[in-house]
């Protein structure tokens, strides 16, 4: 069978392994990657004190000679890297959930995964977890996300059907939101504010420690998502057809859900309750590349990273000297854009 002309096919000599690339997907990915490198570069250069690209380059690669090495290495670089990792994780988590539920409105924040992480983190902050050390905060958040996912699966019953999964997630999410508000209201003023900033999602004062802790999750989770992409393609055909194709639908859903929780939970753990990236990035990706989840995963990851990079840059620069949480800008720009996308998607 001849492949469509749009595809680029790489094959080993004996044909045992072949890779097929869609040209359009490839082009989009490359372009996004370029935009991504450029944005990361700009993010490194700008701040309360703008520095020239040359100086940043020097600081990055020849720190001994540079006088801004400290700023770049200890303040900007970890923050940029964290934004990239968090954005990519949230975007891909959203993609997985949307494929899983077969509904473009699903996302970690809608289903309650972010809510679970938020409740755990806010309780941790308010109920004196600080005595244990801030390092435990991400663990608490991840635990919260995981317990919510398990509760959703348990309550969804045997079918694990998309509609039920979403509705139960929404219900749980509402209860979690109420509980979070309760904890906030009962808290002392200062911790409440701190917890609130966390809820909105902020990369303020990101450190290497956090980047190092999130990196393994991202570096394992994202390739795994790529590996599961073809299952998402099968699920998109509907349960019956997917089963007919030999896809163990329930098992696949469970695996996808757990992976999405790991990605979203770890991202939220380090950056707070960022919403909308998981909703937006997959939408934009789908408009750019039409076919198959294998292409969508990397594109979504890049877009998620780009969104958060720019939102954080805006948060740092827009109201100098105040450093506002990136979440405000993600929501402020993302939410109206999302409404627009949703409208377009229907018609």
């Amino acid at each position: 069978m001849t492949a469509p002309r749009a595809d680029l096919i790489l094959r080993t000599a004996d044909g045992g392994l072949s890779l097929r690339f869609d040209r359009r997907t490839l082009a989009v990915t490359v372009l996004l990657a370029l935009a991504f490198v450029a944005s990361a570069g700009v993010s490194l250069c700008l701040g309360s004190q703008a520095t020239s690209p040359a100086a940043v380059f020097e600081a990055l690669f020849f720190p001994a000679r540079s006088d801004i090495a400290l700023i770049v290495h200890e303040i900007r670089l970890p923050r940029v890297l964290l934004a990239i990792l968090v954005g990519a994780c949230l975007g891909v988590a959203g993609l997985l959930l949307q494929g899983l539920v077969r509904n473009p409105l699903a996302s970690p924040d809608v289903i309650g995964i972010t809510g679970g992480a938020s409740l755990a983190a806010v309780s941790f902050l308010v109920l004196g977890g600080a005595a244990l050390g801030e390092a435990w905060l991400p663990l608490a958040a991840l635990g919260g996300a995981l317990s919510v996912a398990l509760a959703i699966v348990a309550l969804s019953g045997r079918g694990l059907t998309p509609a039920r999964l979403v509705l139960i997630g929404i219900g749980i999410s509402a209860a979690l939101g109420a509980a979070t508000t309760l904890v906030l209201v009962l808290a002392a003023d200062t911790t409440a504010m701190q917890a609130y900033v966390w809820l909105t999602g902020s990369l303020y004062a990101a450190q290497w420690r956090e980047v190092a802790a999130l990196a393994p999750w991202a570096l394992m989770g994202l390739p795994l998502a790529l590996g599961l992409a073809r299952h998402l393609d099968a699920l998109a055909l509907g349960d019956d057809l997917a089963t007919g194709l030999g896809n163990p639908v329930r098992g696949t859903r469970l695996a996808l859900l757990l992976l999405a929780v790991a990605l979203a939970g770890s991202a939220v753990a380090f950056a707070g309750g960022l919403s909308f990236i998981g909703l937006l990035a997959p939408h934009i990706a789908r408009r750019l590349v039409a076919r198959g989840h294998a292409g969508l995963v990397p594109v979504t990851a890049l877009i998620g990273a780009l969104i958060l990079l720019h939102a954080d840059l805006l948060g740092r620069l827009a109201f100098l000297p105040r450093d506002l949480p990136a979440g405000i800008f993600v929501a402020g720009i993302g939410a109206p854009f999302f409404v627009y996308l949703l409208h377009r998607w229907r018609t």
């Binding site: 509904n103 409105l105 699903a106 924040d109 809608v110 309550l155 019953g157 509609a163 039920r164 979403v166 509705l167 139960i168 929404i170 219900g171 749980i172 999410s173 509402a174 209860a175 939101g177 109420a178 509980a179 508000t181 309760l182 906030l184 209201v185 009962l186 003023d189 409440a192 504010m193 609130y196 900033v197 809820l199 909105t200 919403s275 909308f276 909703l279 506002l324 949480p325 979440g327 405000i328 929501a331 402020g332 939410a335 109206p336 999302f338 409404v339 949703l342 409208h343 229907r346």
Partner: protein
């Protein structure tokens, strides 16, 4: 279920008694307990120097009035929405109407420094309207009908949109953080009766609309084909009922912030008791909604003394199991 008119009337009377009891509890119980005699005295022999009377008149009474009004409005709005969308999960809080009104009020009061109650009420109506239109737009299927799950998802997305915008503003405006936070959580405390006055004409208008539409609403619950076959035009009824929802939900938010789940739970309880006739459903919702919120608000004073739990949190925690039960049911029609 109560079937005969007499049984229903008795049921309604019992509901009224329960609501009255909840109202009395709301007036008398709290950090300072007030004897019933003081309540009688406050009206028969007002004494400006008496502290219990002062607490009763300036704090407890407005609070009870607001709780009753908001509870009744939200429950009726929920019943109307469930009929309009034919969706058991529809309610002002779930479909984002409350969040829209809340966000608009927060924007108006932080960014534009608007303080006049009447203006803020208008802004709340506008927010509720915008949210309702958005959800209707987004929840529509290709064919034109509203799919239950899609509508709920659209509502959640719209809620997320408005809540995150409001949260962002809250962080920027740190001075008013605490007062705004209570608003986000929903609370009927700390407001005087003068905040209710500008809203009364609107609530009365909505009540009149409901009374006028009762029969047509019963028809809406039928199949579209059947309704058309009966020669009814539903467009105008839907529009008017929608307007009532906006006024009731928007007004509630303007009074008490975001209080969820009252509009979800109460209509289901009432339908289980009184059947589907809207004459009974709407009046039952108004009564029991008021009673539920009065009871929840009274209970909220005792859960974690000396702190008060915001009543919106109470209703959400009470309502979630109910929502989950509905979501797990086979059918999503009310």
């Amino acid at each position: 279920m109560l079937t005969s008119p007499l049984a229903r009337l008795l049921g309604l009377g019992l509901g009224a008694l329960l609501t009255l009891a909840a109202g009395l509890a709301s007036l008398l119980l709290g950090a300072t307990e007030i004897p019933l005699a003081t309540l009688v005295e406050a009206f028969l022999a007002p004494d400006p120097g008496s502290t219990p009377q002062l607490i009763l008149l300036s704090e407890r009474l407005p609070r009870a009035v607001i709780a009753a009004l908001v509870g009744a409005s939200l429950a009726v709005a929920g019943a109307l929405m469930q009929t309009l969308t034919r969706n058991a999960l529809a309610a002002p809080s779930i479909l984002g109407i409350n969040a829209g009104a809340m966000c608009f009020v927060v924007v108006a009061s932080t960014l534009f420094a608007l303080r006049s109650p009447l203006v803020l009420v208008g802004v709340a109506f506008l927010g509720a309207l915008v949210a309702a239109l958005l959800v209707a737009l987004l929840g529509r299927e290709r064919g034109g009908g509203l799919s239950p799950v899609r509508v709920v998802l659209a509502g959640v997305a719209v809620t997320a949109l408005f809540v995150s915008l409001a949260q962002g503003l809250l962080i920027i405006d740190q001075e008013r953080f605490e007062s705004l936070l209570l608003w986000l959580a929903g609370s009927v405390a700390g407001r005087g009766l003068e905040t209710v006055v500008p809203l009364l004409p609107f609530f009365l208008l909505a009540a009149a609309l409901c009374a006028l539409l009762v029969r047509q609403l019963n028809l809406l619950a039928l199949d579209d084909e059947v309704v058309k076959g009966l020669g009814q035009r539903t467009g105008r009824v839907r529009l008017l009922a929608g307007a009532a929802v906006i006024v009731l939900a928007g007004g509630s938010v303007a009074l008490a912030g975001m209080i969820g789940f009252v509009g979800l739970i109460v209509p289901h309880m009432v339908r289980a008791l009184f059947g589907r006739d809207h004459r009974w459903v709407l009046s039952g919702c108004a009564l029991l909604g008021a009673g539920l919120l009065l009871a929840a608000d009274t209970l909220a004073r005792f859960l974690m003394p000396p702190q008060e739990v915001p009543v919106g949190v109470m209703t959400a925690l009470l309502g979630t199991p109910f929502f989950l039960y509905l979501a797990r049911r086979r059918s999503l029609s009310p």
